[in-house]
Symmetry: C2
Subunit: 73 residues, 2 copies
Amino acid sequence: MDINQKIGERIRELRKQKNISQEALANIAEVDRTYMTGVETGKRNVTVKVLERIVEALELDFASFFNDKIFMK
Amino acid sequence: MDINQKIGERIRELRKQKNISQEALANIAEVDRTYMTGVETGKRNVTVKVLERIVEALELDFASFFNDKIFMK
DNA sequence: TGATACAACGGGTTATGAGTCACATGGATG
DNA sequence: CATCCATGTGACTCATAACCCGTTGTATCA
């Protein structure tokens, strides 16, 4: 599976845990709602700076975000 | 500290552990030698796909790469 | 001194990410 | 049914990531 899809799935999983909409998360991360859709569906190849905003919007740090089976070999 | 600087420092640290040059690492990751310098010095805002190539060149997965104090709140 | 290896910088081109819009779909609800 | 609400898509512009060149500076050698 593509790394962007993995990241999208991870974001969606964490967002659902917080019970918020794509739009709500997008607003906190200061990205467009439709852009967030693209990220979650793995269609966007995000830069580290944008990913940082999303991870922070999820109230996590990079270590926790990537500490998941999906990111392990 | 900026996220790109953190990533650059982390890459440099891991590269030195492996005792290889920027150019050697760049070749494995299939990026340009001068581009790798930019990444290590925190001047580049890399995309996830390129970061994946570098992390793989360091023989790590994302979970291990980000499992470091520097990426924790 | 000259040669070699490594790292950093400046500058230019090309590819693509970031940001935005209108519109479509599907589910729930009155 | 009509109207929200959440999500997804295609197309577009503009900024910048990705890529490549030559050069410079430094250290370490023979």
